[in-house]
């Protein structure tokens, strides 16, 4: 850059250098660690052809992966037990080896504890289920017995009485069967998950051909299953069957359905005894389980205190080894060779870090730092701060700047919010936006740590953009004189007043100018008049064109700076110059006409001037005359515009062709004269630089460019009219909400209607005007920058600088 001005860091990306580091193997780890802290070096992968497990440090990475797995296991366990790891950013002063041992021990301990706990828990749950079975089945037996007794009694009483017809005959037979021949009914009790109970019953029925009796009772509370340890709703079942085969089948079915069976005795005394026993053991187990849980909780607590530090350490180590894997091992296996990009200003810091690493690791030789020459295009690196980064993001979203290309981000900081504000001109809305974004900025520190929602996160990231947008929209709002669509007489009285009392219905014709012109912005008297729209439209349209032409000219001028910076004279003479002339001879002239018309107050129709400038440049101007000599000027401009088209199109491809031929000639000389080294360098760079000069391709490319520019000059200028269109839409919408909601509600003289009206007005203002309109104006401003502005000069085919830095790893996890 020239020495005249103070350095503008954001305008060109940082000068970068390709460096080679030769690091002794014993200090490599520490070096990588220090460089990661510094975060100003982007390593190149020198082992791209090797698969991950063939690289030098694959085993270490595997170790780190294993540690990370253990940590995830701990985290999982902690979350289940309800501990949250303590946040801490301090470094763990423990080496990886020690940590490995420690984590291994902890894991083994925890697993053992879990296994023990699980065993106990399982026994506990089983007992719990057993108790339920005892209770429920006992109830059933009890009720069955009592009803049987009753029946028996009834039967007995009937026997003593007269013989009745409704006593089943079979009963007699059954009673008379010889007890020795009677089949002994077996039974099984247990618990079955409720959702499976129907299927269970069905299968039992099918398997035994209906020769069973099943009784199920619902257990009200969900029961913890001993095997899966989950809470499940279950039924207690009791199944009677006869025969050994049926029993086997039922056992298998029980197993298949995950139904837990429990022994059960018919004897009431034994039942009571069993219940007591089970209750006693339950309470006993409970204390054991609790003690185990407490112990485990303590262990997890100690882990939780250290967890974040360990996690950080492990992640850092893994990152270091991943980086070291990108370095190539020297043939002697004593040092690692690294290549990478770093900004030139960081040279000192990197060397410092290397020196410190060499000293701290007691290495006999320090690392060697040397710059390399390369034809490869370096990465693009802008040093942004929290204010500029969001604007740079807007540019990067379109394309990352080529290395050292003029960065539109610089201008975007001002032009983006300004163009937004032209479309969003209302100082009431501007203030709302300003307050909202002020909230983000004031609470910046707190919010930047927190995890925000998707949309909030985005808004928060762009808080400074929104701040600028709101400030500018307050400014344009003052110019448009709109406060929620209401004009105010902020800068003195209106210049116009009624000529007499009869002009109350507000037409401009009834007004006369009584004072000097309203000093700033739009005269409030325009509001609500019949000619308000024609006046504003004409004003805003013309303003849009002026802004557009100005911004496009800026774009073309930036292309000059680019060409000059890269020493590309062809681009200056055969691209920049004709483009500038073409644009300005047509639309620059239009802008001048607009200004002249504003200054002179002439009533010439500018459409006609422009149209007849093309259709009949030699015709008499007639009423389209704005200034003397206009015809000549127009003829000259038209001629210039016409001549600049072939100027853009033709010379450049031919010159490039010639240049290329010269280059090849020159090279043949160096081949003979050059020494061996320069020959090598030359041929190297040659192979990178020009493979083959294809004239037709270059020509077609230039043709496309020219057509794009010529057509673009028209369409892009028209495109800037969106400034007017959106601004019109915004002001109309807000006046609709104001007039048709707020004023209408006011007119009813009813508190409820007024309140409803105010609520509707507030929601419409926030939802439609502040959110949707902001978004649409934002998008249109974005488009104007990406397309209309940046296509004049911006290549955007660079790649971003991704330094090896620990600061980045902290965020990108989970």
């Amino acid at each position: 850059m020239g020495g005249c001005c103070p350095p503008m860091d954001l305008f060109r990306s940082e000068p970068m250098q390709l460096v080679r580091l030769i690091i002794p193997i014993e200090s490599s780890h520490l070096t990588a660690s220090y460089l990661g802290d510094l975060g100003l070096l982007q390593f190149k992968d020198l082992n791209a052809e090797k698969s991950p497990f063939q690289r030098t440090y694959a085993t270490q990475i595997k170790r780190c992966g294993e540690l990370a797995r253990k940590l995830r296991f701990f985290k999982d366990q902690m979350l289940k037990a309800g501990f949250s790891p303590k946040l801490s950013t301090t470094r763990a002063d423990i080496s990886l080896d020690d940590l490995e041992v420690k984590l291994g021990e902890l894991e083994a301990e925890l697993i053992e504890m879990n296994a023990n706990g699980e065993k106990l828990q399982r026994a506990y749950n089983e007992l719990g289920e057993y108790k339920l079975v005892l209770q429920k089945a006992g109830e059933f037996f009890h009720s069955a017995q009592s009803s049987a007794l009753e029946q028996h009694r009834e039967y007995g009483s009937r026997l003593t009485g007269e013989e009745s017809l409704d006593i089943p005959l079979l009963l007699d037979q059954e009673m008379s069967i010889d007890p020795s021949k009677q089949v002994k009914l077996g039974f099984l009790t247990g618990l079955v998950p409720r959702e499976k109970s129907m299927a269970f019953e069905r299968i039992l029925f099918r398997a035994t051909r209906g020769n069973i009796f099943l009784k199920q009772t619902v257990v009200e509370d969900p029961v913890t299953d001993p095997v899966s340890r989950e809470k499940v709703e279950k039924n207690v079942f009791l199944v009677f069957f006869s025969g050994e085969r049926a029993k086997n089948k039922i056992l298998k079915i029980c197993e298949a359905f995950g139904a837990n069976r429990y022994p059960f005795s018919e004897d009431l005394n034994k039942q009571a005894q069993a219940i007591n026993e089970v209750s006693a053991r339950l309470s006993e187990l409970k204390t054991t389980v609790d003690a185990g849980l407490l112990h485990r909780g303590n262990l997890l607590q100690t882990i939780a205190e250290q967890f974040e530090r360990w996690n950080l350490l492990v992640r850092k180590e893994k990152y270091i080894y991943h980086t070291l894997n990108m370095l190539s091992l020297d043939v002697t296996k004593k040092c690692l060779v690294a290549e990478g990009w770093s900004p030139v200003f960081a040279t000192k810091q990197i060397q410092d870090a290397l020196q410190r690493a060499a000293i701290d690791s007691n290495s006999q030789v320090g690392a060697i730092f040397q710059g390399l020459h390369t034809r490869e295009s370096p990465p693009t690196y802008f040093r942004t701060n929290k204010f500029t980064s969001a604007f740079q993001e807007i540019v990067d979203a379109y394309g990352v700047a080529k290395y050292q290309e003029a960065n539109p981000g610089v201008y975007t900081i001002v032009t983006f919010p300004f163009l937004f504000a032209v479309m969003f001109g209302d100082w009431g809305h501007g203030i709302c936006l300003f307050l909202a974004t002020l909230y983000f900025i004031v609470r910046e520190k707190k919010l930047s740590v927190e995890k925000l929602g998707d949309i909030t996160e985005m808004t928060f990231g762009g808080r400074y953009v929104i701040l600028m947008m709101s400030i500018f929209s307050i400014y344009t709002g003052l110019i448009y004189n709109e406060f929620f669509s209401v004009p105010f007489e902020l800068f003195g009285r209106s210049a116009y007043a009624c000529r007499d009392i009869s002009c109350r219905d507000a037409t401009t014709e009834g007004l006369v100018k009584v004072r000097s012109t309203y000093p700033f912005g739009l005269d409030p008297v325009w509001h609500g008049t019949r000619s308000e729209l024609p006046f504003l439209n004409s004003l805003k349209m013309k303003m849009s064109i002026l802004l557009g032409v100005a911004q496009m000219n800026l774009g073309i001028i930036l292309s000059y700076f680019n060409a000059k910076y890269f020493g590309n004279n062809i681009n200056i003479w055969f691209q920049f110059l004709p483009q500038l002339i073409f644009l300005n001879s047509l639309f620059g002239y239009l802008s001048v006409l607009i200004l002249v018309k504003w200054c002179t107050g002439s009533q010439v129709d500018l459409y006609h001037v422009m149209i007849y400038m093309f259709l009949g440049p030699t015709d008499d101007l007639g009423e389209n005359q704005l200034f003397a000599g206009q015809k000549t000027v127009q003829l000259v401009l038209l001629f210039l515009a016409l001549i600049s088209v072939p100027w853009m199109l033709l010379p450049k491809p031919f010159l490039l062709k010639k240049q290329c031929e010269n280059m090849h000639q020159g090279q043949s000389y160096t081949l003979i004269e050059g020494t061996e080294e320069s020959l090598q360098v030359e041929s190297n760079h040659d192979s990178h630089n020009h493979e083959e000069f294809d004239f037709s391709e270059v020509f077609v490319h230039q043709l496309i460019h020219t057509i794009e520019f010529v057509l673009g000059a028209v369409s892009n200028t028209a495109s800037y009219l969106r400034l007017w269109a959106l601004s019109l839409a915004h002001s109309e919408l807000s006046s609709v909400f104001y007039d048709k909601v707020l004023l209408l509600a006011w007119g009813y003289n009813n508190v409820i209607i007024l309140v409803v009206g105010i609520i509707v007005f507030i929601f419409a203002t926030i939802g439609v005007l502040l959110v949707m309109e902001t978004l649409s104006a934002f998008l249109h401003a974005l488009r104007l920058h990406w397309v209309e502005f940046q296509n004049k000069f911006y290549e955007g085919d660079g790649y971003k600088f991704h330094p090896f830095s620990f600061a980045v790893t902290d965020d990108d996890d989970d």
């Binding site: 698969s51 991950p52 497990f53 992966g65 797995r69 089948k249 298998k252 197993e255 298949a256 359905f257």
Partner: protein, 351 residues
């Protein structure tokens, strides 16, 4: 109906088709396989797979890995994807997706029944079952003694029930008739699936007919080869062939009378699509036939993705993933048993 799927397909099937195509993009490529084949230990395999879509499924496995763990986790991924798709699917796609699992169901039934016959532990058998072919009462299968019971007790509730109509006998189960049962069921399943796809019409029926016909023909060849030298009669053998496919019906007649592998070969070489498969094999060899068929199958499944707006992609994707899991299993087995020279024997590259 044909030709207008494009108009309406995306209403219900568009999202899932996009999903399945996305999944397909995650299949391992030849470069991945080359890397995997160079692995020294199972940990290397894990490390390599952690960079693929299998990563999240393997990352929490502690270090001494086993082949079964790898296969299990990879299958789990497939099952998760399948379940996700099934949840999102509407009719008739959901039915179509369910059809895909019936094959596994048949395999599981046969596995359990054979296992119980040889008095294995049911729990152990259940672990070996393919998770896609699980159904509620699968464990109850162990209770059954003969096919009638099998049907009456358990399978009547499953979608397999209709396929049983042909093979209900009261004979006790033994290895031979279990195998016959498997093939009869599979035949009925394929025919039913085929009919279902025909009913769907459009590109789905066109593509699925092709894929299923290949499947049916492959089964016919396998049945023939496996039944050579057993007591299965020709008529019985013919009954096991599905009633569609390229070989139906004349090829089946000829296959039914084949007595050795070379006769099978001479039958198959009359059919141009299969000629190329058999021309790769030397005479009298049947070992490499499986691989040759798998390769052809993979090729056909990949081609199914070339056309849009049909359900064949779901079927093809599931099959490709299964092939991939088979490949992974083979590779990890070879690595685990230090048989790296044999790695390429059975790996079928998908891309």
């Amino acid at each position: 109906m044909y030709g207008f799927e494009a108009l309406t397909f995306n209403i219900h099937g568009g999202y899932l088709e996009a999903i399945v195509r996305g999944h397909r993009a995650g299949l391992l490529t030849a470069a991945d396989y080359n890397n995997l084949c160079q692995c020294e230990t199972l940990d290397d395999i894990k490390m390599h797979l952690s960079a693929t879509e299998y990563g999240p499924y393997l990352q929490n496995e502690p270090s001494p890995l086993h082949t079964t763990t790898i296969v299990e986790k990879c299958t789990l991924k497939l099952v998760d994807e399948y379940k996700h798709m099934l949840c999102q699917a509407t009719e008739p796609l959901s039915t179509f997706l369910e059809y895909i699992t019936y094959g596994h169901m048949i395999d599981n039934v046969v596995l359990i029944v054979t296992g119980t016959l040889h008095e294995r532990d049911v729990q152990e058998l259940l672990e070996k079952c393919h998770p896609l072919g699980m159904f509620d009462s699968i464990a109850t299968l162990a209770v059954a003694q003969n096919m009638r019971e099998l049907y009456r007790l358990v399978l009547v509730d499953t979608p397999l029930a209709p396929y049983f109509s042909e093979c209900i006998t009261s004979e006790d189960l033994d290895d031979m008739n279990i195998e016959i049962m498997r093939n009869t069921l599979y035949k009925a399943y394929l025919e039913d699936f085929y009919k279902f796809c025909q009913k769907l019409g459009g590109a789905t029926s066109e593509i699925m007919s092709d894929l299923l016909a290949f499947e049916a023909d492959r089964r016919a060849v396998n049945i023939t080869i496996n039944s050579i030298g057993t007591e299965l009669t020709r008529d019985d053998r013919r009954k096991l062939y599905s009633s569609f496919g390229l070989l139906y019906p004349y090829g089946h007649e000829e296959l039914a009378v084949c007595e050795d592998i070379d006769q099978v070969r001479s039958v198959m070489e009359k059919y141009p699509p299969y000629q190329s498969i058999f021309s790769k094999l030397s005479y009298g060899e049947s070992q490499m036939l499986d691989k040759a068929f798998y390769e052809e199958e993979v090729k056909r499944h990949c081609l199914a993705f070339e056309q849009q707006f049909h359900y064949g992609v779901f079927f093809a994707y599931m099959r490709l993933r299964e092939q991939e899991i088979r490949n992974l299993m083979w590779i990890s087995e070879c690595v685990a048993q230090n048989q790296k020279s044999r790695v390429h024997d059975s790996v079928v590259f998908i891309f």
